[in-house]
């Protein structure tokens, strides 16, 4: 009963937050697929923040805190719906019914359904086979931190000790705190909680990709994009690993989808604010999220200032920054008061030496090139090569949101460049570090890359009608 209450509260809190940001006066049930895809991750983000500030609370007080947060958001939503003036609404999902687009839709839909069934089956089986995650990072970092939060009471900070090597005590706490929050409701450390949270993030990412493409490019393109993501074996494997890379990819994608919808003409400060919240949650999930947040803000400033001027740029960036601010303050508090210094800058004396070593650049570049060609564990042809061939034959077509696409591509490029720089200065053996983590870093941007790809490439119905 308590578990059900937690699930309902978490989901509803996320849904109310998303609806609060949605352009008015759209009915609550509009764009339901997109809102539903967003609400799980947003709800878990809010739940993690509540627990972070109250890990020692009893269950009844924690329930009160959760109910209070939900209540406040609901009151603000009701108030805002009675006060806000009409804004451009977000278009409904587009379905091509007539012409060649309508004729190929059954084939695309069938392929999507088959890929969804395959990945749902594999995910369920993997979740049962690996209740404590698949790989060291699950029990050495994420679930370990959740245990310290749940078991530690007022002494939970003991777990963020530099005495436990390689446990990354500087890693933010969205996942561990969300897991511990549900454990508190259950009164035990059920393996089902981290497994279900992992599945929610994985399938919400698919739902987000599908619904975002549906709105901006039509259902055929959405089926294609969704099929490509579901058919990426590495995405399915990592989706149940209880690592933080797929949750991070969810928040990257959410930010980019919201900004692209906003920049497609449905200019609403609410969408910008929600993008700021999801970018903030990315930073609260993993340190790479901080890099992404910086990259997306910088990309937005650079492109909008150049094309539209500084005043417009400020109006289009400020809501995002203000909405991300509360989460950033939490992260700052965590970094200053709880986490020890990260390992990346543990030997500053050697930083310059590493940055000036061409062998490190060459090693990192080689790994980037290799990973680009073999990413995803696809059969026969890597997904990246497949998409390159698809683009070559089908061609490009960009809608009214070129700025949105340019900003997102630049942001992802800056993020990957940031990862490159991290490998250059890593205190670990560079080859070991690249081998053990580069594919997961690529996974963080893969759903967003697929989204942007299918935004740019021509739709099947347009290509066939040409």
């Amino acid at each position: 009963m308590a578990a059900l209450l937690a699930v309902v509260l978490c989901g509803l809190t996320g849904f109310v937050l998303v609806c609060l940001a949605w352009p008015q006066p759209a009915p609550l049930r509009s764009n339901l697929a997109l809102k539903t895809s967003l609400c799980g991750g947003c709800g878990l983000g809010i739940f993690s923040l509540v627990f972070f500030f109250s890990p020692a609370l009893s269950l009844s007080r924690l329930m009160l805190a959760d109910a209070a947060v939900f209540g406040v958001l609901l009151v603000v939503l009701i108030w805002s719906r009675t006060r806000r003036s009409a804004e451009d609404s977000v278009a409904d999902e587009r379905v091509a019914v007539d012409g060649p687009g309508g004729r190929i839709r059954p084939a695309l839909g069938t392929a999507f359904a088959l890929a969804l069934i395959a990945s749902a089956y594999a995910s369920a089986v993997r979740a049962v086979a690996h209740p404590h995650g698949d790989g060291w990072d699950a029990f050495a970092i994420w679930d370990l931190h959740a245990r310290f939060l749940f078991r530690g009471g007022p002494h939970w900070k003991d777990g963020f000790s530099p005495l436990i090597p390689w446990s990354h005590p500087d890693y933010p706490l969205l996942l561990p705190a969300a897991i511990a929050h549900f454990w508190r409701y259950l009164g035990s450390e059920s393996w089902i909680v981290p497994s279900v949270i992992a599945l929610i993030f994985a399938f919400s990412t698919v739902g987000l990709l599908f619904s975002g493409l549906s709105i901006l490019r039509g259902q055929n393109q959405a089926f294609l994009g969704g099929t490509v993501l579901l058919a990426t074996p590495f995405f399915v494997e990592q989706g149940t690993s209880q690592y933080a890379d797929v949750p991070l990819s969810f928040f990257f994608l959410a930010t980019i989808v919201l900004l692209c919808i906003h920049d497609s003409g449905m200019r609403s400060p609410g969408l910008l604010a929600l993008a700021g919240v999801t970018a903030g949650f990315a930073a609260w999930t993993k340190n790479e999220g901080l890099l992404f947040l910086g990259a997306i803000v910088l990309a937005r400033v650079v492109i909008l200032a150049r094309h539209e001027g500084w005043i417009f740029c400020g109006r289009q960036t400020l809501p995002m920054l203000l909405a991300a601010l509360p989460v950033l303050l939490v992260i700052a508090y965590f970094k200053v008061r709880v986490a020890p210094a990260g390992d990346l800058f543990s030997s500053p004396a050697s930083l310059w030496h590493k940055l000036l070593d061409p062998a490190r650049y060459w090693a990192t570049f080689q790994w980037y090139a290799k990973e680009l060609l073999r990413f995803g564990h696809w059969w026969l042809i890597p997904g990246t090569v497949l998409l390159a061939g698809y683009y070559f034959i089908v061609g490009k077509e960009v809608g009214s949101y070129e700025d949105g696409i340019r900003i997102s591509v630049l942001a992802l490029g800056l993020t990957l460049a940031g990862y490159f720089a991290v490998y250059l200065i890593t205190p670990y053996d560079i080859h070991w570090h690249l081998r053990s983590s580069l594919n997961r870093l690529f996974l963080q941007v893969w759903p967003s890359a697929i989204f942007l790809f299918f935004l740019v490439v021509r739709t099947p119905e347009r290509t066939l009608a040409a």
């Binding site: 890929a115 089986v125 049962v128 404590h132 003991d158 490509v228 579901l230 564990h377 997904g383």
Partner: protein, 153 residues
């Protein structure tokens, strides 16, 4: 035939539009096929149902179940030392021990009043020769030892 553009003996060529449609249809079909092949890989490489029970117990057997009794004998919080197998598997053993014993902090060091000995492979009856200055407090079986510094015991 009157006005036919096709000379006798020649075959008719498909208009460019039909060729283009054909190429696009093949491209989309091939893309979907290759995606579904990879989806097939996802299914084939998923664990078999008969393997599920053994796989699902693997981590718990090496962590929570292995250290359940030891955990009851240790204080609720603080820092304890840890010593284990020298082989590479010893690293995983350490993290599984830490996972089981949280919120106790387990440091890979012998420089603590209490030290956990974890030897799942060698299962010594007493502290191995590599362990200096520690005496056995209790043997929990299965290679799980509770050790203490000689001067602290």
């Amino acid at each position: 035939m009157q006005g036919s553009p096709i000379e006798p003996g020649q075959t008719a060529r498909a208009p460019a539009g039909l060729q283009h449609q054909g190429r696009i249809t093949i491209t989309v079909a091939l893309t979907l096929m290759l995606c579904l092949l990879s989806s097939l890989r996802v299914v084939i490489e998923a664990p078999r149902p008969r393997q599920l029970e053994a796989m699902s117990r693997a981590v718990a057997q090496h962590s929570d179940q292995r250290f359940a009794e030891l955990r009851r004998a240790l204080p609720g919080r603080g820092v304890v030392g840890y010593v284990g197998e020298a082989a590479e598997s010893g690293v995983a053993d350490y993290y599984l021990a830490q996972y089981a014993l949280a919120p106790l902090v387990v440091e890979r060091s012998q420089d603590h009043p209490l030290v956990i000995g974890n030897f799942p492979a060698s299962q010594p009856a007493s502290p191995p020769a590599t362990v200096k200055g520690l005496v056995l407090v209790k043997d929990f079986g299965n290679g799980v030892l509770l050790l203490a510094k000689e001067d602290n015991k």
